[in-house]
Symmetry: C2
Subunit: 299 residues, 2 copies
């Protein structure tokens, strides 16, 4: 039985390879050929050795529900494309204005702002096209996955959370407001990834409910751990400027609760995530380890 770390690495390598094929530089001319500069920017923002956690969660959940991992690869790629587009747009000067991402120049630094906006738009579009064409063998399931992905990524999910986060730079949020913003900004796509895995695996209503509860707790753990890393880790470890959230006046639960209380709260959330998986027995151990991993990762 492969270790958790080995499973994570296998998934990351498979997603990276699939993204490489999908975003292979095409012929430089011909009608309808994606422009070389646009493809290069899409690749820069995507093929970066990421941990591919959202596809991992999607595929592990699908596997738990009985779907072989090779059948969930395309859906995993689609959710990762959405994640990568969101990072490109979040890094833009008008948004978080970040120069570095995983230790490399952000897309608008390596190219320019217009190219970064368009590369993000193209990746988001590609995510839905890929999901609609390859996300599942059954076309009805593909349509359902598209709807779930859009719900997680859109105005009531990730993009809405990013808007709330920006508004939070000038408006003080209470703990509920911070939790809601984070549940949308980070949580919604993680939740959608896990639910897409469950849908792909044919989960019934009860199983989908348990997995959604797991997903929501796992998403909270992921974000809280991220906020803790922002104040405790070195820039080298996380590959971007740390302490930046505080400098931007961004509101986090860590800033509100203090580091020690935030760490205790993180332990409680991980416990919630693990408990939500009880009905699945030991088969769900990889997802349990994923929740623990979120809370203890160092980058």
């Amino acid at each position: 039985m492969a270790s958790f770390g080995a499973k994570l690495q296998t998934n990351a390598a498979e997603i990276e390879r699939a993204l490489e094929v999908l975003l292979a530089p095409g012929p430089l001319s011909g009608p309808g050929a994606p422009p070389a500069r646009l493809v290069a920017a899409m690749r820069h923002g995507t093929l970066n050795g990421g941990k591919r956690l959202r596809p991992f969660l999607l595929r592990e959940t699908a596997a738990l529900c009985g779907t072989a991992r090779e059948l969930s690869l395309a859906a995993g790629v689609a959710v990762e494309l959405v994640h990568c587009y969101s990072l490109i747009h979040d890094d833009l000067p008008a948004m978080d204005d970040d120069d570095l991402r995983r230790g490399r120049p952000t897309v608008h630094k390596a190219f320019d702002e217009a190219t970064a906006i368009l590369a993000g738009d193209a990746l988001l579009t590609l995510a839905f096209g890929h999901m609609g064409e390859h996300g599942a063998a059954d076309p009805a399931l593909r349509a359902r996955l598209v709807v779930e992905l859009a719900a997680g990524a859109g105005s009531g999910g990730m993009v809405g959370g990013q808007m709330r986060d920006i508004e939070g730079e000038t408006t003080r949020l209470d703990e509920t407001g911070i939790a809601r913003m984070q549940a949308m900004k980070t949580g919604a796509l993680i939740r959608a990834a896990i639910r897409m895995g469950a849908i792909l695996g044919g989960a019934g209503t009860d199983a989908l409910g348990h997995l959604t509860a797991y997903a929501e707790a796992a998403g909270r753990a992921f974000q809280l751990a991220d906020d803790l890393l922002d104040v405790t880790a070195s820039p080298d470890a996380v590959g971007k400027a740390t302490g930046k959230d505080a400098a931007l006046g961004k509101q986090t639960l860590v800033a509100r609760l203090g580091i020690d209380a935030a760490r205790r709260h993180l332990g409680d959330i991980v416990h919630d995530a693990i408990t939500a998986l009880t009905p699945f027995g030991p088969e769900a151990d990889t997802l349990r380890e994923a929740a623990r991993y979120f809370a203890t990762r160092e980058s």
Copy 2:
């Protein structure tokens, strides 16, 4: 039998109403509620009395293939959402830097740049979610429509064309290069709209081929007429600054051919579009009128 103008107005009113329902301001709180400012920006960029030509083409094509207009409304809304998002992003300072759109402030002027980027992202996401959920009664057809919409909107279509247009500001394109850029930037979404109507209407391979030929000619006519308007119309008539393409050094066939030759070329393209519809007989008269309308519109 309603006149062409009346049909255009009826469709525009139906699309406007459907968009109004879809983008209705929701409750201002609650987990997963889209932030009010984001919804306001999405509405500003969408509910603007547009002519809704792409939904019109989609729905007329579906009707020609035997699908009642009420069954193509949602797919029409989805393609219009993509068009509206593209205008918001194209107007951004890093892109075309436009202050006015249809006589009103552009979204980044009425709100701010970050909000405009996110509103565009949210509308694009909503387009795919809406298509995946409501685009057709048959879920397999919905998945196919999602794929067609993504192909028209993505790196090999509209976004790729926008990239080529920006590159053209600094690199001289030949006539073929301009035609290719425009076929992607403007043509690809018009082509996708007409093909989605055909797919929704269950068109066979031959009919889809004829309608695609019509779509490609109609798209060229639309763009050439737009370029002619940019150099000949008053700002009041088109609701935005005219002569702007020339000022930006944008390359158009009008700039290359001269106004008179461009007008003659436009006549030829409209003829091509009309001829492509021959197999459909008089049933296709509304689509023929649409091609003529593109070439003669004054705004």
